[in-house]
């Protein structure tokens, strides 16, 4: 490993170092604020090291990791999202008793796992990253150790293990057929064999494992239970960081191997995408629990992303990168509002009823939430609109009409439940003057939410520089 290799992976090293420092700090002195500070400093350092690493790109660091613009771009998204999650966690945990420090440690490790996934070019690093991410998540989901948290954690543990079994078996079949675990060489050999049954089966099983992590229909059923059971900031993390990491990996892997030569695989992904777009939105339609609703809606959003995933061409990667970034900022904002919104005596504000008349109690919070919902629905002047526009453009450009139609139909359905929540927030509250849980939250929370809203509008009104950056960096060969 040369010095250039080392510089290229420095952002990952910074994350790991921060995790170790927290561990050491806890042994000497437990302080919530100190732990948060180390976490944020570690994340900031990792972000600051990205340009440095970018000078070494593209670079193959051992057989395991490819550090290129693509990996670094998604690492940046992961780091920024983790930063926001850490702040929301602080706001969230401050209201609750107990030891909070380990959460940040696990958060950093999970982010490290996601970043490894984004850079991974080998089955070994894929598995390592995925397990680093999942194992941290088991604990994070159950962190407050309430009944519902533990139930969600155990469900995730069991189902993730099941899916990992499929994933591993798929890898084994592919290895059996090609004799290699490196994506690049594997793709060459797979291209020469004429879509042999076992190879396709292996790819299919791999898709099952990744589909579970991305919560695509029909591997989605864990999503609402886990999203609801996890503490809101961790839900935000599951919905964003873990999705970004896995999706970046899936896009890299399948664009190297190529889906288009494998007609069945293409059909399979098309079916999954259509089922996710329609199923996710239909499930969200009648949901009264806001966290579950957002869980279903995230299924649909990942389905939308598959449209660009299946479209070929350079526009596809741009569309995916933009949409994932927009989706991340928006989802963080939405769950951030849930994390800081006042609920009943320590519980989270989960149901629609909690949000009734929020505008009249917390106008700013309601405005931020409304902006996030508009962006999720894809209303113009928000990031969601531009993102969806790019997806549609990529889909139309590749003539994927069934997918494009499902995207439009799904978006139409989704308007109902997004706008319903907005309407509820602006209704007059039931009892005038009944101020529930009016405890203030620290300015850091409001500032983060405001910044996220700024990002949403910035990407919606003036996306050109960001798209330029994506086109310059996030490219696959």
């Amino acid at each position: 490993m040369s010095i250039q290799d080392f510089i290229a992976v420095l952002p990952l090293v910074a994350l790991a170092t921060a995790a170790v420092m927290i561990m050491l700090a806890i042994t000497f002195y437990r302080s919530h604020l100190l732990t948060l500070a180390i976490t944020l400093a570690g994340l900031a350092a990792a972000v600051a090291l990205l340009p440095l690493a970018a000078r070494q790109t593209p670079r193959q660091v051992t057989a395991l990791l490819t550090i290129d613009g693509y990996a670094l771009f998604f690492t940046g998204v992961i780091l920024a999202a983790t930063f926001a999650v850490a702040i929301f966690s602080y706001v969230y945990l401050r209201r609750r008793t107990g030891q909070h420090d380990e959460l940040y440690l696990l958060l950093l490790l999970a982010a490290l796992g996601a970043a490894v996934l984004a850079a991974s070019s080998h089955f070994a690093s894929l598995f390592l990253g995925l397990e680093l991410l999942s194992s941290s998540l088991f604990v994070l989901i159950a962190y407050p150790r309430g009944r519902i948290n533990i139930e969600a954690g155990i469900k995730y543990l069991i189902l993730a293990s099941v899916s990992t079994a499929f994933l591993l078996f798929g890898m084994a079949l592919i290895y059996d057929q090609t004799g290699t675990m490196e994506f690049g060489r594997l793709a060459v050999i797979a291209g020469n064999t004429d879509g042999a049954g076992l190879l396709t089966a292996g790819l299919g099983l791999l898709a099952v494992g990744l589909g579970f992590k991305l919560a695509l229909v029909p591997f989605h059923m864990w999503t609402p239970d886990v999203y609801q059971g996890a503490p809101a900031p961790i839900t935000a993390f599951v919905a964003t960081v873990s999705k970004v990491g896995v999706f970046a990996l899936a896009l890299r892997f399948f664009s190297e191997v190529g889906i288009h030569p494998h007609a069945h695989l293409f059909l399979l992904f098309t079916l999954i995408a259509v089922a996710s777009m329609l199923g996710g939105n239909l499930l969200a339609l009648l949901q009264n629990n806001v966290k579950r609703m957002l869980a279903y809606s995230s299924i649909a959003h990942l389905g939308y992303l598959l449209v660009a995933f299946l479209a070929s061409g350079p526009l596809a990667v741009t569309a995916v990168a933009f949409y994932l970034s927009a989706y991340t900022a928006t989802t963080l904002g939405a769950f951030g509002v849930i994390a800081v919104a006042p609920g009943h005596s320590g519980a989270e504000a989960e149901t629609l009823q909690h949000y009734r008349g929020l505008f009249w109690r917390r106008p700013w919070l309601a405005a931020v939430f409304a902006a996030m919902l508009f962006s999720l629905a894809g209303i113009p002047l928000t990031a969601g609109f531009i993102g969806k526009f790019y997806l549609l453009d990529a889909g139309v450009g590749s003539s994927l009409w069934l997918l494009v139609f499902s995207l439009v139909a799904g978006s139409g359905i989704s308007l109902y439940y997004y706008l319903r929540l907005v309407v509820v927030m602006y209704m007059r509250p039931h009892r005038e003057g009944a101020r529930e849980g009016a405890d203030a939250f620290p300015w850091t929370g409001s500032l983060t939410l405001t910044l996220l809203m700024g990002v949403i509008f910035w990407l919606g009104v003036y996306p050109a520089p960001f798209i330029d950056m994506i086109e310059r960096t996030a490219r696959l060969k």
């Binding site: 069991i158 049954g197 396709t200 089966a201 099952v208 029909p218 007609a263 339609l285 453009d393």
Partner: protein, 624 residues
Amino acid sequence: MLRFLFLIPFFPFAGFAALTLGGRRLGRHAAAVGAGSVGLSALASLALAAGFLISPPPGYVYTQSLWTWMKVGGFSPGISLYLDALSLVMVLVVSVVSFLIHVYSGGFMSRGEGRRFFAYMNLFVGFMLTLVLAGNLVLLYLGWEGVGLCSYLLIGFWYRDAANGRAARKAFIVTRVGDTSMAIALFLLFAKLGTLEIQPLLKLAASHWQAGSGLAVAASLLLLGGALGKSAQLPLQTWLPDAMAGPTPVSALIHAATMVTAGVYLIARTNVLFSLAPQVRLLVAIIGAATLLLAGFSALTQRDIKRVLAYSTISQIGYMFLALGVGAWSAAIFHFMTHAFFKALLFLAAGVVIKGLAEEHDMFRMGGLRRQLPLAFWTFLAGAASLSALPLVTAGFYSKDLILWDAWSSASGSHWLWAAGLAGAFLTSIYTFRMVFLIFFGASRSRVGSRPGFIMQAPLVVLAALSLVGGFIEAPGAPFLSGFLHHALPVFQQAGGSAAVEFAFALISAAASLAGIYLAYHLFLRRPARAAALAASSSGRLLHRWWYSGWGFDWFYDRVFVMPYAWLARVSKSDPLDLIFAGASRLAAGAGRLFGRTQTGRTRWYAAGIAAGAIVVLALAVNW
């Protein structure tokens, strides 16, 4: 210097943002923030105009590209501002008049409602400036819709009265008819010419389309539809009299001085398209002439002071359309400018009267206010003189006389158009001085409750001065304004007529104006009984009712459009066609419920789901 162009629309938007987000403490200084932001904008445009005149940019055009909204295929609408002689004049008038009206509003509006009021007003000014500075039709359309929205918000500003809400909705819906036509025009232009950047588009149209070709006619007709809606011309004029439900400064700013002239600006801006379609241009002139006459007659019969002014606005914009139709582009812009001054002045002075008499709008219950409100009287008189084109000393005379002369002498003009304009001028001075005599002369019928403070008086004085001397910018023999505007607008094509003939025509229009004033004096001050008898005769009663109701357009539209539509909506409330949509939503809800059944919460069921999915995947992958 010119690179600060973006500041002009930026200040009002910033003012809007500050007033909306600024919280209560800022709300107490709403008037200062609102007027201040527009004042900065006016200062910026004055400075910019000075810079533009002292060292003109190459070709008298300055373009500022701020950013590109998005780039997809061939469609890349830029957020770009375009400053030439035409938009400079528009910006100057809009920002200066807006500033004066904002100052006045500081005294007019009560404290409690100031924040919302000034936020809307600033938003309006921002959108209006965006509209006139837009370098492409997409941005122009944003400003166009933005001012429409603000107009709706401000007409219904006192929303607790349901009638105001109705008026606001009417204005919004009627102008929407025009907006739809304009949107289709944009689609057509983009589909056929591939760009919406105004200048390249006009160049392409001029080189690709034959004069009088079907596409040019269609495009300019559709654009005209948009202009008719916004500028309240036949047949979409019905919304403007009702729009007077808004606070008086709103009427002055939006429904007299600025927004309603957006249609004039649009046609002037896209004059190339209209020159390619001579038939449509003739139509513009005819609509203008018809509108100015119809609205003039209606103004003659109104009792509500603001409704007289509203009909007068429709009529004066008719003059501008007439000028556009005969190719007198700069005459139209000149009349826009003088009209902005004197009509804003008339509204603001009327506002003083209305406020002074505790929201009294009926002119027949006023009278003799000359002594009680001297400043309002003198400034109103200046505005009225300018509106009725009192010769030599008023700005309105120069602009209206120019339009009349151009209508006669233009290569595409006609004697009929001139005659209509002349009759309109005669009508104008009758109804204008009818107002003056009814309100300020005669027996005093009411006591003035409140008098305007300095903050309301100062704008009146400034506008009165502008209404009187503003015409010298285009005095005969020294046509400074049209000389400047010719950098942006085509030169007026004169067919004939010498200076002597022109002088004779000026005498005729001066005579028409004076005769109208005398008739008003005779009928409404000296022998009011005769006017009453005239109106009471059987044919007089009929005409009076017909004109009073705005020629029955509302009645007609109600029966032809509104009632059938409402009926159709009522009877088709549960028609089979609805079943498709209701069915779709029911289907979605049913499917949602069905899928919801799968969410049992049982881990073993979920795991089974994954396994089943995997089996399907394997089956697909292996057995195809």
